[in-house]
Assembly symmetry: C2
Homo-oligomer: 118 residues x 2
């Protein structure tokens, strides 16, 4: 699969589709999920053309990968989840129902999140 | 919270508690979860004293963070999940029921994984 620059998250990051943005820095762009699965549900995407965690971790620089995941935890803190806790999820491929092919991380919190899987 | 070097995952990595090891390199150590939530359920931990993703991403080097997440996707491929897909989960704090305070990533696969949260 090659990266499609017209995937919905790329369009959101370019401002072509509106979103509720919660954070942006040189590494990451974060916005509210439109179908929240918890009281806090934010998506974090890296700045760059990466389909999956595999692409991101193998192709991006160490500074970029470190910066992105550091930003994920800063965003969780900004959302007020540092003490109460949060779950980070990333889906890859059909069994995990990955729906958008721009690598993204879900931050979920604001309630007791229960077991790992339904 | 300070890192406890006698947490169960540190003991597993040091070989003081047995495990079903599936992978090891300079960045990561991976073993089967003893209470699997899916046909494939492996835990991946970094080599180093990190309680959480926050500690890991803010304190470890870029090379270490990149190497760790690159290894996570290599392990998923080694487990046969590259095409069928997999979910990566990391829990932080009480709402996510983080039970061991050594940063770890769950790799889950081998069946359709359903929704993000129960």
């Amino acid at each position: 699969m090659t990266y499609d620059p017209n995937n919905i998250f790329a369009k959101i990051m370019r401002g072509e589709i509106p979103c509720k943005k919660v954070y942006e820095d040189e590494f990451a762009f974060a916005f509210e999920d439109i179908h929240p699965a918890a009281p806090v549900h934010v998506l974090v995407i890296p700045k760059g053309d990466y389909i999956s965690l595999h692409d991101f971790a193998s192709q991006a620089s160490g500074a970029m990968v470190k910066g992105f995941f550091d930003s994920v935890t800063k965003i969780a803190a900004q959302l007020g989840l540092e003490k109460s806790g949060y779950r980070i999820i990333s889906n890859h491929g059909p069994d995990a129902a990955q729906s958008v092919h721009h690598f993204h991380v879900h931050i979920l919190g604001g309630r007791s999140l229960g077991r790992l899987l339904p």
